[in-house]
């Protein structure tokens, strides 16, 4: 049996792995089969992770974290968790290939999943003009018109990225101001290809085989407008990925996993949570990394305590 299994391979998972590996806990990291490295694998330049004054590409940053964790003895498995048994002193993790892994402690750092608009035809046209990944799909919209939906950092980053290819980028936000950082906003406002449309929501997506346009509705006066676009990029945030632990771990009102105070301790002993899955507010690579440190240290203390308890029991019960 292992000391520790870490589920997730974003900044939280890998940072927890670096700390746990350096503490000789020989962690097993379940990195996912196609989403290893987490959300940063889909970004381009990361300019706000400390230590990289020139910026660093998201995938490059994640590869470095992975190598750093491996250097100290973390073992990484590229598969997906299909089920978890977290109650009791032995935690069981079942993977997509059917293998079962056991450990005394688990760090859960699965991040979040992109939110959908939840409107008709979104699913049907997904991959045919509706996209959640500007870095993957932007190049197919050369000299075309596209819309980006959202008002946070990722929406503005995607809009700016898409100006490399598209002629016009409509940036559609349901409020009259952005949540995004000042640096991102300045860049977007200064870009002649980006047209900001405030106070509007997407109500319809048009197109039989592919997106040919969208219908937007003004949230203030209800007026409808049709925009001729060939692509629509959805960046309206993400929801914590908690489905594997429903019924096992307590959740916070925000939908994130509930943790005790500033710690990573969940409602079950020996189960710790870190990164975006516990954070409804900040959701940065650097805060996720810090949260991974907290989880690794909490897990280390927990494992030391149960080792002490076992020793004490051996002393107390002479053979």
């Amino acid at each position: 049996m292992r000391h520790l299994i870490i589920i997730g391979s974003g900044p939280a998972g890998y940072t927890a792995a670096i700390y746990a590996a350096r503490a000789n806990l020989e962690p097993l990291v379940i990195a996912s089969s196609v989403e290893f490295g987490g959300e940063l694998m889909k970004t381009t330049e990361v300019e706000n992770f400390p230590g990289f004054p020139e910026g660093i590409m998201g995938p490059e940053l994640m590869t470095r974290m992975q190598e750093q964790a491996e250097r100290f003895g973390a073992e990484i498995v590229y598969d997906d968790v299909v089920s978890l048994e977290l109650e009791g002193p032995v935690k069981r993790v079942t993977l997509g290939d059917g293998s079962v892994h056991e450990a005394h402690a688990v760090i859960y750092a699965t991040g979040s999943a992109y939110r959908k608009l939840g409107i008709p035809d979104e699913e049907r046209l997904s991959g045919y003009g509706v996209s959640w990944c500007a870095t993957c799909d932007g190049a197919f919209f050369r000299q075309k018109k596209v819309a980006v939906i959202g008002g946070g950092d990722s929406a503005l980053e995607e809009a700016t990225f898409l100006t490399r290819f598209a002629d016009v980028v409509y940036l559609i936000h349901r409020r009259d101001s952005f949540r995004a950082s000042a640096a991102m906003q300045e860049r977007a406002f200064a870009d002649p290809k980006i047209q900001v449309i405030w106070n509007n929501e997407v109500a319809h997506i048009y197109g039989d085989e592919k997106v040919t346009g969208i219908g937007i509705v003004n949230t203030v006066d209800g007026t409808e407008t049709t925009l001729d676009v060939q692509g629509m990029f959805v960046a309206i945030g993400a929801d914590p990925r908690t489905h594997l632990v429903h019924g096992q771990l307590d959740l916070a009102p925000e939908g994130t996993i509930a943790v005790e105070g500033r710690s990573s301790k969940t409602s079950l002993p020996g189960v710790f949570a870190a990164g975006d899955v516990v954070d409804p507010t900040y959701k940065q690579a650097a805060t996720a990394a810090g949260s991974g440190v907290v989880a690794a240290l909490d897990a280390e203390h927990y494992l030391a305590d149960i080792a002490d308890a076992e020793k004490a029991e051996l002393v107390a019960t002479p053979r």
Partner: protein
């Protein structure tokens, strides 16, 4: 084993003329999810070599074919049979999910 690459020039001979089902993985070097799904496709190709062939097409180097099939999202994995598209799978997915999508060809 890594899957074979096809190009605009070889597409008709290698894909459209294939007598067994053949899946084309439309991908690009700058697409993270494409790189993630690539080893999974290699594995499926190896395990089901008698049922289906899998080839890859770099959309940057071969824009003609990518445009002809209206690719706007990658990875896009299209199965061709007798020169026609018979199945479209879009987006990187874990191996069991891809095998479920391809069940009719792997049976």
């Amino acid at each position: 084993m890594s899957t074979k690459a096809v190009t605009d020039a070889t597409f008709a001979d290698e894909v459209l003329a294939s007598d067994k089902p053949i899946m084309v993985d439309f991908w690009a070097t700058w697409c993270g999810p494409c790189r993630a799904v690539s080893p999974i496709l290699d594995k499926i190709a190896e395990e089901h070599a008698d049922k289906i062939s899998i080839v890859k097409l770099d959309v940057d180097d071969n824009p003609e074919t990518a445009m002809k099939y209206g690719i706007t999202s990658i990875p896009a994995m299209y199965v061709f049979q007798n020169g026609e598209v018979v199945k479209r799978v879009i987006g990187a997915k874990p191996k069991p999910a891809l095998e479920a999508d391809l069940a009719e060809f792997l049976a």
